[in-house]
C-alpha cells in the first residue's frame, strides 16, 4: 500500500525572509504588551494603595486641632512619580541587572525627596494611646476642652481581647474543621451528601439577619457580654467554609499512603496524625490565617454582644476613639488604625507563601 508521492507545486518563488526583523518585531510587541499591562495594574491598584498610604502618613504627621492636607499632597508628589519611575525603569531595562540598578536609583531619590518634603513633619505623638490610657483627656486639654471623656480601657487590654477572640476562634475552627473535613472526605455515612450541600447553603446566608435571635440566645444562655459567647458565634459562622476548604485538601491526599500507614502498624488515629495531617499543612495554615484575620477584624458581633468596656476589642476601641476625638484629632484616630492594622499585615506577609497555594480544587461530592 505505497503512498503515491504528489509532485510539489510552487507557483511563486519563495519570498526572502529577514529573521532579524521578525525577531525584533516580536520583541517590540512583547515589551509593548508588558508596558500596557503594568500601566493598567498600576492604575487599578492606586485607589487601593493610596488610602493606606494616607492613613500611615496622617498617623505619623497630623497634629492636634490642625486639619491640613499639605503634607498629604507633598507626600503624593513624592509617591506618584516614584511609582511611575519604577515602572519606567522596569519597562526600559535591558537586563535584570539594569532593572535592579534603575529601581535602586529611583528608590534612593524618592527616599531623599521624602525626607526633604515630609520628614520635618513626622512625629510619633499620635501614638499617645499606647502609653497614656486617658489620652482622650490629654488630647482635649490641648485645645482647652476639659469635659469628661469616655473612659477608655488600656489599649493593650483591648489588644489582648482581640488576640484572645481571634486566637481561640482559630484554634477551635482549625481543630473542628480538620476532623470534620477528614470524616467527610474519607467516610461514607448517612446524610453525608446532605451535609456537604448544607455546608454551602449555610455560607450563603447573610449572617447579619441572625443578629437578634443570636442576641436572645446568648442572653438566655448567659453568655451575653462575654468573650466566650462571641467566640462561639464566630466559630459557628466560620466553620462551614473552613470545613469545605479542608475537605478539598483531604480529597487530594491519596488513599494509598493512608492504607500504607495502616499496614505499617498505625491505627487510624495515628495514620491521620502522622501521615495525612502533614499533607494538608498548607490548608490548615490557610484557614488558620483567614479565620484569625476574620476574628481580628470582627466588628458587628462584638459591637452587639459585648457591652462592658473591659470586654472591648480593637475594633470597638477604634470605634470609640473615632466617636470621641474625631474632629479634635484625626491623627490619633489614624494612629489607632495603623496599630490595628499591623498584626494582620504581619500575619499575611508571613503566611503569604502558603495562602497562594490554596485552591478549592478537587472538591468531590
Amino acid at each position: 500500500m505505497a503512498v503515491k508521492a504528489t509532485p510539489a507545486v510552487f507557483s511563486a518563488p519563495e519570498p526572502v525572509v529577514d529573521w532579524d526583523v521578525l525577531a525584533a518585531r516580536a520583541r517590540g510587541l512583547r515589551r509593548a504588551k508588558a508596558v500596557v499591562l503594568y500601566a493598567f495594574l498600576i492604575a487599578v491598584s492606586l485607589p487601593i494603595i493610596l488610602p493606606y498610604f494616607w492613613l500611615v502618613t496622617i498617623a505619623f504627621s497630623a497634629k492636634t486641632g490642625v486639619a491640613e492636607t499639605a503634607v498629604l499632597w507633598r507626600s503624593m508628589a513624592v509617591v506618584v512619580p516614584t511609582v511611575i519611575a519604577l515602572w519606567l525603569a522596569a519597562a526600559f531595562a535591558q537586563s535584570r541587572r539594569q532593572m535592579w540598578i534603575g529601581m535602586g536609583a529611583v528608590a534612593a531619590v524618592a527616599a531623599f525627596a521624602f525626607a526633604l518634603l515630609v520628614g520635618p513633619d513626622l512625629h510619633i505623638g499620635n501614638f499617645i494611646f499606647l502609653w497614656e490610657p486617658d489620652f482622650a483627656s490629654v488630647v482635649r486639654s490641648r485645645i482647652g476642652e476639659v469635659k469628661g471623656a469616655v473612659q477608655f480601657p488600656n489599649v493593650w487590654h483591648a489588644f489582648g481581647n482581640s488576640i484572645l477572640i481571634a486566637g481561640t476562634q482559630t484554634a477551635i475552627v482549625v481543630t473542628v474543621a480538620s476532623l470534620a473535613a477528614y470524616s467527610l472526605s474519607r467516610f461514607q455515612f448517612p446524610g453525608r451528601s446532605a451535609m456537604l450541600r448544607s455546608l454551602l447553603v449555610l455560607h450563603a446566608f447573610p449572617v447579619l439577619t441572625l443578629i437578634v435571635p443570636m442576641f436572645l440566645m446568648l442572653y438566655w444562655i448567659g453568655l451575653l457580654d462575654t468573650l466566650f459567647g462571641v467566640i462561639l458565634v464566630l466559630v459557628a459562622f466560620e466553620l462551614p467554609f473552613a470545613i469545605f476548604i479542608m475537605k478539598g485538601f483531604f480529597d487530594a491526599v491519596p488513599w494509598d499512603i493512608e492504607m500504607s500507614a495502616l499496614t505499617d502498624g498505625a491505627s487510624r488515629r495515628q495514620a491521620f496524625l502522622s501521615v495525612v495531617l502533614p499533607q494538608v499543612r498548607n490548608g490548615i495554615l490557610a484557614i488558620a490565617v483567614f479565620t484569625f484575620i476574620r476574628g481580628w477584624e470582627e466588628y458587628i458581633f462584638v459591637f452587639t454582644f459585648l457591652i462592658r468596656n473591659t470586654n472591648w476589642t480593637m475594633s470597638l476601641y477604634m470605634y470609640w476613639v473615632r466617636d470621641d476625638v474625631m474632629g479634635v484629632d484625626y491623627g490619633v484616630v489614624s494612629a489607632v488604625g495603623v496599630f490595628y492594622l499591623v498584626p494582620s499585615l504581619i500575619l499575611y506577609l508571613a503566611a503569604q507563601r502558603y495562602l497562594m497555594q490554596m485552591s478549592i480544587g478537587g472538591v468531590k461530592g
Partner: protein, 354 residues
C-alpha cells in the same frame, strides 16, 4: 512466613459482588501472581489480604488462623503500592523507620534494621533524601525496603513495576525475584501484565470477573490454558483463534482435518503465532504488515477468516508486504476449545517443544 488460604471468600461493595466465591491456597514461601484485566478483583483480593477490606463472607486464613476481623496493623504484612505510597514529608530513613515506630523496636536496633533493609535494596546512600528527590526506580526500592524492614510474614506487591520505564522494569523484575528467593517470604504479586507474572511468579492465578479461571505454573497457563480467556490473555503476540467444526472426534478447520478426543460441535482452534509457518498449503491470504521484533519477525496476514499473526525466527524479513502466502499449522500444536463453554478439550494441548 505464612501459608495463606481463601475459603469461599466473598466480597461485596453495596450491591456489587466483586468476588463471588474464592478458594485458593498459597503455600509458605511461595511467590504467586494474581493476573487479570483491570476490574477482575485482583486488587480487592490483595486489600483483603492486607486487612484493608474485610471479606463479606467466607474465611481468610493465615497459617490456619481465621484473620477476617484482624486489623491491618496486627497482620504483619508488607505492601508495595503501585504509586509506592511513600510518605512525602518524611526522609527516606523515616519512611523505612515508620513501620518499626509502632513495634516499639529499640532505637538502635531499629536504625540497624533500617540500614540493613536499605542495603538490601541498595538505597543506603539516599537515606537523608525526601521521596520527591528520588527517581521512580529509587522510590520503588525504598517502598520495598519499607515493606521488608518489619520482616513481614506476607509481602504484597500491587502492580509494582507499572510506573517504571522498560529497562528499569526488566532489572527490577530480576531483583525482586531474587530478593524473594533469598528471604523466602510468601509473596503475592498483583499485575495485569502477563510478562511480569510469568517471569516472576512460581504459580499464576488467572482471574476474570472475580472468579479464578486457572491456577498453574507459567508453563501450564501458556501451553495448557484451561479456557479461551486464559489462552487469549497469556502470550504476546496474542494467540490466533479460528472457528472450526468437529464431528465424532475429528476437527475440521479450513479443509484440514485432525483427530481430537471427544470433540464435537462448534470448536475454536487456538494457534500460537510461533507455531504457524508459511508453506504450500493452509490458510491463504496476503501480508498487510511486517513488525520486526528483534530476534523474530511478526507478519500480520489478512485471510478469508480474519487476521492471522505469524511469528518467524530470524531478524530480517523473508517476505514482503502485499505478498500472497499460505499458512500451515501442525495439529499437535493446536489448542481446541469448545466454543459453547469456552473450555479446553482435554484431548488437545500443545506438547512441550522437544
Amino acid at each position: 512466613m505464612a501459608k495463606i488460604e481463601f475459603r469461599n471468600v466473598v466480597k461485596r461493595f453495596g450491591d456489587v459482588e466483586v468476588i463471588p466465591d474464592m478458594n485458593l491456597v498459597i503455600e509458605d514461601g511461595e511467590f504467586v501472581a494474581l493476573l487479570g484485566p483491570s476490574g477482575c478483583g485482583k486488587s480487592t483480593s490483595l486489600f483483603m489480604l492486607a486487612g484493608i477490606y474485610v471479606p463479606s463472607g467466607g474465611e481468610l486464613l493465615f497459617d490456619g488462623h481465621v484473620v477476617n476481623e484482624v486489623e491491618a496493623r496486627d497482620r504483619n504484612v508488607g505492601i508495595v503500592f503501585q504509586s509506592y505510597a511513600l510518605y512525602p514529608h518524611m526522609s527516606v530513613r523515616d519512611n523505612i523507620l515508620f513501620p518499626l515506630r509502632f513495634k516499639k523496636t529499640p532505637r538502635d536496633e531499629a536504625l540497624g534494621r533500617v540500614k540493613g533493609a536499605a542495603d538490601l535494596v541498595r538505597v543506603a546512600e539516599l537515606l537523608e533524601r525526601k521521596p520527591s528527590e528520588l527517581s521512580g526506580g529509587q522510590q520503588q526500592r525504598v517502598a520495598l525496603a519499607r515493606a521488608l524492614v518489619k520482616e513481614p510474614q506476607l509481602l504484597l506487591l500491587d502492580e509494582p513495576l507499572s510506573n517504571l520505564d522498560a529497562t528499569l522494569r526488566l532489572s527490577m523484575r530480576t531483583e525482586i525475584k531474587s530478593l524473594q528467593e533469598k528471604l523466602g517470604v510468601t509473596t503475592v504479586l498483583v499485575t495485569h501484565d502477563q510478562i511480569e507474572a510469568t517471569t516472576m511468579a512460581d504459580r499464576i492465578i488467572c482471574m476474570r470477573a472475580g472468579r479464578i479461571e486457572q491456577i498453574g505454573t507459567p508453563d501450564d497457563l501458556y501451553l495448557r490454558p484451561a479456557s479461551l480467556f486464559v489462552a487469549s490473555f497469556i502470550g504476546s503476540p496474542p494467540i490466533n483463534l479460528i472457528a472450526g467444526e468437529a464431528q465424532g472426534g475429528t476437527v475440521a478447520v479450513n479443509g484440514a482435518k485432525f483427530p481430537v478426543e471427544g470433540a464435537s460441535g462448534a470448536v475454536t482452534v487456538g494457534l500460537r503465532p510461533e507455531h504457524l509457518r508459511f508453506g504450500d498449503s493452509g490458510f491463504t491470504g496476503h501480508i498487510v504488515q511486517i513488525e520486526p521484533m528483534g530476534r523474530e519477525i511478526l507478519y500480520v496476514v489478512e485471510t478469508g477468516i480474519g487476521i492471522i499473526r505469524v511469528l518467524e525466527q530470524g531478524s530480517s524479513a523473508t517476505h514482503a508486504t502485499g505478498e500472497k502466502v499460505k499458512i500451515g499449522f501442525s495439529p499437535e500444536n493446536s489448542l481446541v476449545f469448545e466454543t459453547a463453554h469456552q473450555k479446553l478439550l482435554p484431548g488437545a494441548h500443545v506438547h512441550a517443544p522437544a
